[in-house]
Amino acid sequence: MIRVLVNAEPIDIATEMAAIETGGAGAVATFSGLVRADDGVGMLELEHYPGATEAALVTLAETAVARWSLLAATIVHRVGVMRPGERIVFVGVSAPHRAAALEACAFLIDRLKTDAPFWKRETRGSDARWVEPRGSDDAAAARWQA
C-alpha cells in the first residue's frame, strides 16, 4: 500500500503510523526530517512542482516496495512555511522483517533528497536564501544504485 502526500498541513505522526502498521507487518521503520532549531533558522519555506513532485514520490515508493517486498510505504512531505521543530518530511515503511524495513527507509529518504523536486529557502533574521544542494546527498543517493 503506497501513500504519498504533499501539502501545507502539519504532519500527524499518529495517523501516519497507524496507516503503516497494517496487515501482518513485523517491522516498521520511519524517518522524520524536522526544521532544526539549533542553527539560527527562524523560518523555512518549501516549494515544489505540483504534479511532478507527487509523481516522483510515487515512483520512488513503488521502487522501494518492489525492491524490498514492502507491505506499505508512506511519504509525506510538507510544503509552504515551517518553523523550527516542525516536521518537513515523514517516510515510513513496513515489511515482514527488520532488515528490509530499515534499508527501504534509508533508501527512500536518501533518494527523495536528490530525485524529488522540492526547493528549500531558509530565513535567518532578515536574510532569506535558497539552500544549496549538498554533495553528500548525491553520494547517499548513489549508493542505492542496483
Partner: protein
C-alpha cells in the same frame, strides 16, 4: 508552437514569474536551445538563466538533460538542483 515554461525557486524569482507561455523560433529543438532563447527575453531571464551548470530541467514532467529534445513538448520546467527532505 506554444510551450508552457515553468520556473521554480531562485530561477522563478530571477525571471519574475513562475510560468509563461512562449513560442520559440523554429530550430529551438533542445532544452539548451530553449534556455539560450529564453535568456534573451529580459535582463531578469538573462541573469536567472546565466549559470547553466546550476540549472536542471524537466520536459512534460520528466527529468532530462540539457540536450534533451523539446519537440512536441507541452511543458518545460527549469529549476535549480533540488533540496527537499
Amino acid at each position: 508552437m506554444a510551450i508552457d515554461v515553468l520556473y521554480f525557486a531562485w530561477v522563478r524569482e530571477g525571471v519574475g514569474t513562475g510560468q509563461e507561455r512562449v513560442d520559440p523560433p523554429a530550430g529551438t529543438d533542445t532544452v539548451a536551445a530553449l534556455i539560450d532563447w529564453l535568456a534573451t527575453r529580459s535582463p531578469g531571464h538573462a541573469q536567472a538563466l546565466a549559470d547553466r551548470a546550476r540549472l536542471r530541467a524537466a520536459v512534460d514532467q520528466v527529468f532530462v538533460g540539457a540536450d534533451a529534445s523539446i519537440l512536441g513538448a507541452r511543458e518545460v520546467a527549469i529549476f535549480p538542483p533540488v533540496t527537499g527532505g
